[in-house]
């Protein structure tokens, strides 16, 4: 056969076939996506610091472990309020002459997804101490420590951002850890990672809904797992043992606010954040309940977990009670 015995025909046929398929599955879909895509109207532009932070994120290969995509499946709901759409990435352009476009969608989730980390974990103090060494706040974490983004000093100068690092992670207790400009830029980028609201409030559906756990008590809603909700929403600062982190995050164990018979202040703090103990050196608490869209039932479950764990022994609050206070403290 001519095709088999003539190298010119053979290789051009193979190349032609490959090029046609390449056009069909890569080049044309990519071009069509570029042309029929625009950023969402509410999407904010990255601040100057965040842009530099993104460059650091790229340079250090963070995408090897952290994805930035919320898939349209129920199990990804913890990473964002809605599934990602093409418009979320429309504002990503070629980084510079050397570097390609960075959608940073990633293919490995060795660590958590970061699509919405700016909302999920907005605290700068937490992000800084976590970057210095993730094991200061999450004991079991295997993320690398980015100590080279920090300066170790003996005395602090004006304008230095001091990071409250537990003594165990320092060579001597007199050392002060100061965040470098790069560390602050990287945190600025992380804080900027927030899912943008869709203009018409109609987002694509999450598929593969989780099966409701079989209810054994005939129709009554399954009880929410307070410990799991605590782990997902509160634990990274207040720690699994409820003792917080000295000088950074206050303890819940034995806390007056947590043990208070009247739960109003506690609900208020969860919904609106708290800066009442900043003078003592503790970081400002973000409005976790509002940011993570927790329901009254979920908040009640978390509160009851906190009020009855680590030796805490306070009365249980009900969902209705929490709901009433939530409406009251709503800003």
């Amino acid at each position: 056969m001519e095709l088999f015995d003539n190298h010119k025909t053979l290789y051009s046929t193979a190349l032609g076939l490959f090029l046609i398929l390449t056009l069909g599955v890569a080049i044309l879909p990519a071009i069509s996506n570029e042309q029929n895509n625009a950023p969402l109207p509410d999407a904010p532009a990255l601040s100057e610091d965040a842009v530099k932070g993104k460059a650091l994120f790229i340079a250090n290969g963070c995408v090897a472990c952290h994805t930035q995509q919320v898939r349209n499946v129920e199990m990804d709901k913890i990473w964002g309020e809605r599934p990602g759409i093409a418009a979320d990435y429309a504002d990503d352009h070629r980084t510079d002459l050397l570097r390609n476009t960075a959608t940073l969608m990633g293919t490995e989730r060795t660590g958590p997804d970061l699509t919405n980390v700016g909302k999920r974990q907005p605290s700068r103090d937490w992000q800084l101490v976590h970057l210095f060494n993730p094991r200061t706040v999450v004991e079991q974490s295997i993320m690398p420590a980015y100590t080279w983004l920090f300066d170790i000093k003996d005395s602090v100068q004006e304008g230095d951002v001091v990071v409250n690092v537990p003594e165990a992670f320092l060579a001597s207790p007199h050392q002060k850890v100061v965040a470098s400009r790069e560390a602050l830029q990287l945190v600025a980028y992380l804080q900027s990672l927030k899912q943008v609201k869709l203009p018409d409030e109609k987002s694509p559906l999450f598929l593969y809904k989780r099966e409701k756990p079989a209810d054994n008590n005939g129709g009554a809603p399954a009880t929410l797992n307070g410990a799991e909700l605590y782990a997902n929403n509160c634990q990274s600062c207040h720690q699994p043992n409820g003792e917080g982190l000295k000088g950074a995050f206050p303890p819940l164990k034995g806390s007056k606010i947590v043990l208070n018979d009247d739960p109003e202040l506690m609900v208020d703090i969860i919904m609106n954040g708290y800066s009442g103990r900043v003078q003592e050196g503790f970081g400002e608490m973000p409005a976790v309940g509002t940011l993570n869209k927790l329901s009254a039932g979920e908040i009640a479950a978390i509160m009851n977990h906190e009020r009855s764990s680590w030796g805490n022994n306070s009365r249980k609050v009900t969902e209705e009670e929490v709901k009433t206070i939530m409406d009251k403290v709503k800003k």
């Binding site: 990519a30 290969g61 963070c62 990435y89 476009t101 997902n232 634990q235």
Partner: protein, 711 residues
Amino acid sequence: MKPHWLKRIVLTAAVLMVSIYYVQAQSKGSAFFAMNSIAGLWTFCLLLMGVILLSALSMKYRLKNLIRSLRARHQKPQLENVAAYIRQLNSHQLTALLRIKQHTKVKMLIWVALGCSLSAKALDAKPTRLMNQTGILITIILILIPVLVGIALMIFKLRRVIGNYHRKVYQEESGLLATYLDEMNDAEMLNELLQRKAALDYSLNHDELAGTVAAEDNKGLLNEISNENNVNFITRKKASSSRPPVDPALGKLILWFLGTATFWLLFGTTVGEYVGIKFVSPDVDHLSWLSFGRLRPVHTNAVFWGWASLAMLGLGHYIVPRVSNTSIASLKRGWYTLILVNAAVVLGTICLMAGINNAGGEYREYIWPVMALFATGLCITLANFIQTIARRTSKEIYISNWYIVSAVIFAIVIVLVAYSPFWQDGLGETIVQGYYMHQGVGMWFMLFMLGVTYYFLPQQLNRPIYSYSLGILAFWSQIVFYTVIGTHHFVFSSIPWWLQTVAIVGSVGMLIPVTSGTTNFFMTFRNGWHKLAGSYTLPFFLVGLVFYFTGSMQGTAEAFRYTNLIWHFTDFTVAHSHITMYGIITFLLWAAIYTVVPVLTGKEPPQITVGIHFWVALMGLLFYTIPLMYGATYRGIMWQSGKPFIDSVVFMAPYWLWRAIGGSLMWASHIVFAYNMYKMSLATAAPDIKEAALKKLSEQYLKGSVSSPIQ
């Protein structure tokens, strides 16, 4: 009757097991063989019953035999028995008898035998809900224990009773025989026995086949003659057969390709090993240049573009001219490619460690100026290969050259599409990334290695490829299906849904090239499996081909939407990429390298270290991949069921440790491989006294100090 009865028991047991496992499957999370596990206890019980059943059956069989022999004994005239015994006397017994005959004294002859039987009643149990209760089960077991012990005791007792009976019977019979022998005084019979003894005493002198003269070997068939009669602890494998000589200049180029490839294998997997250790010990260093995110792409890119690509290009320079039956068009171009590709990996590695990368996208981490070096190297090689094929002296183009040259062409296209620095805004980057990362694997590495295998496998088996047509089918179907499957790395993401579906359908279509390729290779192996034991290259081919089938099939399985729910984003992908890039590509590369380097240098690798390399690498790969796949599956299930993320990190710890252990084994095997490369190329071969003597002789002859042997 019996089979029917047996069938019923087996069926009952099967129904029981299935029902138990079904119940067990509903209560996930409990250990299978815990004391409170129903399935575990039942398995144990059924196993025990199986053992009892087997012993009862064997007893029954023995009893039947005994009854039959008893019946026969009563029917047959006893003298006939005696005659039969005499005919069966062995040499030793004959000696004794003849001596006794001389002394006319008879001693008792004793034979010992055993036999007994028992038929035990099988325990029949039916599956009920009650049977699933642990308490009931424990009670049943408590009752069963004395019953079982009783049955066992009864079996032993019966054996002894039957044994005693047998002994009595034989004593009677031997008494009879002794009396007969005592009375026998027939000269003719004695003579016959003497002759029989002489015949039985005959033995060979071990020279029958060999003779006493040294073998005459006119056709040079006898090779590898060994005069050492030591015990072989290691199977001796065949030395590589001599091939037509290769131009030493080309040989040198190929060796440089393979040598630098070996360096990158060692370097890349040392980095990989270190990165694997970081999963177990994240605080091992706090240096920016050695941080995980920077080193991971250093590892993947060094083994991709450094190790596998350089080794493949080296092998290509051997195969392409060989199957074209001509010499390579230009050696100089080969050297340019060698330098360019090596430069790309050196620069790429330094850039990545310094934090200069291409902004995300696996295997696309080198920046474009670095990859441009690589692509230029490939372009030069492509021109070289095509020119070589153009001046081939054979009419047809052997299938290896289809695969190899197409792989080079496609690799250039892929790099151009993915790296052209003027497009890919937004999601376009991700669409191209899916295309690029999978075409790199499938259209560059896999396609090229299939071409290499199509040449070396038939050569090593010394037989033609099973079917040329299957090879052609695999070639075209690989292009059609593989090209479209890239986006299956982004299932459920925001790239167009139709594109995801096309990728999944294409992944299923991959069954065609994979099964046709696998069939072709294994059918080439047929009737040649015995060669496996005598060859040190074929085991590498075999492992590579087995993983070609399983690894590729696994890829198809991973592409479905449902499996994506469990496995996507987990370390399952990492295990899969090692099964394929290591199990397939690297094992096939080793197979080809061990084939080709001895041909080039005339030096064999030490067989024991080749064996160590093979086994340590294979075991390492299995230790690496199996725990990782297991752990990753559970991690995916934990994510699905909404467990806190950090729990899934804690859960993976032991599997990451296993990965580090497997990785260490793999890494150790690479040191052995590097040593073998050294032995095959750089090391001075063991001095050959014969060769040296001949050299000396010819020198002396040239000087005239020795008279010419032919005069």
